[in-house]
Subunit: 233 residues, 6 copies
């Protein structure tokens, strides 16, 4: 099967890291197709405006994937931008990494906290989790106070800040698992799990395998109701 893993922002180095994570976990017989946002998609998605600028390009890429017969899609940005629209233009399963990771967290623990990059992303993620119905299992959404692209820079100290915030989450929030709140953290999962002793859940890998799972069960996006194809006017 073929799964498109799309990084909606325009930073190729982030796509490479994301896709490497997806390929590492993908099952036998799964081909991961990589895609990166094109301008006007911003270099990183830090807020609603950035999401909005990235979504039309995301939809164009999904229309192409639909025409190519791709089986499923992972949208690799923790704000889950444009997921509803993506589900309208694509037949197979489409998953955002926030939805995948937080639902996985509730399968492995009774409560989780999220550690994201910038403070401004905190309320966006809280709203997503409210929409998914998981607020009662989410202890807190935390920010490590780093810019998204700092994760791409050697020596920025970003990794250590993420680790320290996870340790604070375990201590202060009494959470049982931690969800990484940014696609750019996908390569840190193993190291963070070792350093912190709690399940650390990365959305890129989980979403890739969950999309595989849905495809493997023969399931597709419902075309009855909200996710029917757009009406041409």
């Amino acid at each position: 099967m073929e799964i498109l893993v799309i990084n909606p922002n325009a930073t190729v180095s982030m796509t490479e890291k994301i896709v490497e994570s997806a390929r590492r976990v993908a099952g036998q017989g799964t081909t991961i197709i990589a895609a990166t946002g094109q301008p006007p998609a911003p270099a990183s998605i830090q807020g609603h405006h950035d999401e909005a600028m990235a979504v039309p390009g995301l939809l164009a890429r999904l229309r192409q994937a639909e025409a190519d017969g791709v089986d499923g899609v992972v949208v690799a940005c923790f704000d889950d931008p444009g997921i509803g629209a993506c589900r309208e233009v694509f037949s197979g399963p489409v998953l955002g990494i926030c939805e995948a990771a937080t639902k996985a967290a509730t399968m492995l623990s009774t409560s989780f906290s999220v550690v994201t990059t910038l403070p401004r992303s905190v309320p966006i993620i809280e709203q997503l989790i409210h929409g998914y119905g998981l607020s009662h299992q989410c202890r807190r959404v935390r920010s490590a106070e780093i810019a998204v692209l700092a994760l791409e820079e050697e020596g920025s100290g970003a990794r250590e800040k993420v680790r320290n915030e996870i340790l604070r989450a375990v201590e202060e929030d009494r959470c049982e698992a931690v969800v990484l709140g940014c696609a750019g953290m996908a390569d840190l999962t193993a190291w963070l799990t070792e350093e912190t002793g709690v399940p650390v859940i990365d959305g890129v890998t989980v979403a890739t395998r969950m999309v595989e799972a849905l495809i493997g069960c023969g399931l597709k996006t419902s075309k009855v109701g909200a996710y029917a194809p757009p009406i041409e006017t």
Copy 2:
């Protein structure tokens, strides 16, 4: 004060109707500025995909309004597309018509139903209302099973379908008020109120006056947190 009332879709006749409604209710000393979406914004917004295509143009128009010193914005589409992003790029109050109308409904009644156009918009509106925290006061979101642009056509029977659905809502849902779930219904409010005997609430007029109210109190969008200006990267 100056308020931009923007119709995010590309149908000018709908903008005219919307702006006429806004001007009719605006207070003395308020100037209503009209704007219409430009392609790739679709002719009508019927689903998430259509929203996504309309939002970048909406944001460009709001940046212009911000530069022009406009005081507030009404986004005249009942899906409340891109409101978070709009609040990031604009200093004054920004209101979508779903948020304005449903919050007004709860100030006038203990429960309301919504009557929108197409069935596919029903779950979108339900999700908005869940996000606004008003699900316990919303009896049901109903569709009159008409296309958005049918409201623009003489003799399409669309008005009668809306009226009949309102009457069914009052009868079956035991609601105390009805919210019109489409900007294109703004001109029907008075007629529908007369025909049905319940408060019929149109988002365009209510949002216009509520933005005026917030401006009049000297209030602006919070720039601490989620609605801070976009970060340039």
Copy 3:
């Protein structure tokens, strides 16, 4: 249009302050009518008992306003006492200042905290906010630990305590806006906004303008259901 702004407690100096705030923001052509509670209404409303003692007088005053053809009513006490009953006896819009201010806060920010006077008012306000469906956007209801009437006394230090509690709210609650939880704080809004750097929202002014907005749209309290006129027995 004529709007009755009623202070349900019996302290005339508080009414004067409230009405001055209302008049400052009211639109052109709006007349603000002032009213003060009469004993047995207490000098300040600090708890459910005090509310209960104030409501019959409030209703009598609203019946008078209804007979006089007044267009709308603001009940200027943050406990929103007797709002349901007021809506039964009055045709036009009736708003309490807690409902108005908290709904306004959600139009300008993704989360807010409330700063009220006494600790005993905290659970009352929490219950109101739960009823309005806004708990998921309310970070915390806080008390500045001052008596209501201390706000009327020069040199009581009450203003400074309110400011300090707002600063704590911003720091500890990560809220994006602050709602003033007492009608007696209406005159402090501008000063507090300057001192704290977040939108500080006062219910008296917001409720006045929102009632104006609803009247301006031709909307009235629904008389179908809960808010039908009392049945004479």
Copy 4:
């Protein structure tokens, strides 16, 4: 122990029926003290206005009971009027019959419906149940479309309407128990249980026994926080 069972409305025949029900179930050693509302309390409580008019008299009677050393209070009106205020002026447990009956229903079934008198009481009861956190277990609040005082009249057909509405609730709502939504139905419980085959729960009897239970455990209303005695000003 002594329990005051107070009918907040001014209809003595209803008090007699209520108190008879309370006395029938009260434990050995419990004395039931009866009280009836005095004008301006209305003859029946049909809406928020009626509640508001009854509460000051209710509070005066509770202050007397407090001075007399009464151990607990049942407020025998299904709108639970003034309960917060009552808890401020009284030391022992105070229960409204809606709270008692709906919480009892959740101890005996997984879901219940309520059958009340007039349609206008439906949203009031829905709001109470939302506040108590039981909405997810309440299938529906229904009205038998009868006036409260019709229950006092021989030959009014009111009893049969209540029975028929219960049968509809069981059939249509798939509820497992039915709560009687009016103190004036207390004498019908046994007959309705027989006629309908589901547990029919009357608030007067349940509240009486639950107040007994709380007193028997040595429990009193918390005086830390919201229910502290009113502050004299």
Copy 5:
């Protein structure tokens, strides 16, 4: 009437303490029947596994009680293990002590915290409270970090830890009442109330009196729906 108070774990000394508490508060004419879990029920119930091992024995004992004509049952473990199953095999009211105590707390205060033994019980209790719909009134579930059986040992310091945790709850959570989160704390209620100055609510005594109350009103478990007797296959 006869009420079975069953300690689902296998520690007889705990049963004795529990039953003594139940007998102390039971009304005149009530006989308390004691029962203790038998292996494979564990010595204490500390987690879901322990619950699961205790429930089949609990059900066997309830079937016996049903055959003996017992009138009601208290399951004296704060995890409320197997309550749904118990209600299927028994005709009279069945109450767990978490449900009884938390519902009682909401009759006496606007908010409560729970103090339990081990940290691992905290999420279990949070899930129960979410199911009962009381999360909005529960400030926090806290652990005193003691093993259940430490409460049985003289000189273990367990009592003092419970008291100190209650004092922290009052200080930090701003709760108005405290619920004891373990049947083994039943004998400490009076001492803890004195030491802390807030209502301290023990589930064993409250559940005993509430089951009495339901029986006294002639109420039984609904046999329509979820709690119908098990189907023999």
Copy 6:
């Protein structure tokens, strides 16, 4: 990897059907191990009592699987019996089929209905869905009014009843997907999807692939908090 798919009831023919479904979808390199409940587990699980009788055997089998180094577990009963306890005794991921199927449904649609066997299972499933936080996306839990074992009998008409109930769900509930509410329906998925035109989601296959997905990402059950191993006493 090795996944244990356990049918907690004692009917071997049902296990065979379930395991066949699991094997059909499992990825390359996955071995499905089958297990069936042993008495006192009942022949079918129809209510809480039946769950309770099946869980101790389920836990014993999971302890064996843990010792054998099995990687993950699917509990193939739609009541999700004993999942919390299973997670305590097992290191790898453990999923119940209700949790898996309903979470999958929310990845493919905005709303779903469930079609189960007996009416008595309806409230049990509703409670599970409330616990998972998905009530706002679940239109209705429906019963096809068939016994679980009727699904095993040729010519019982059970399949047709399930299909007809799905068609009613689509028509009456306006749901976008349907979840099959019984492990015994796993073999009907393809036929039902064809007959009804909506995504029909079976928990057995979805849970198998989701457990595979979690294992594939290196994720295990959190052992910090509620799911720590049972404490030996």
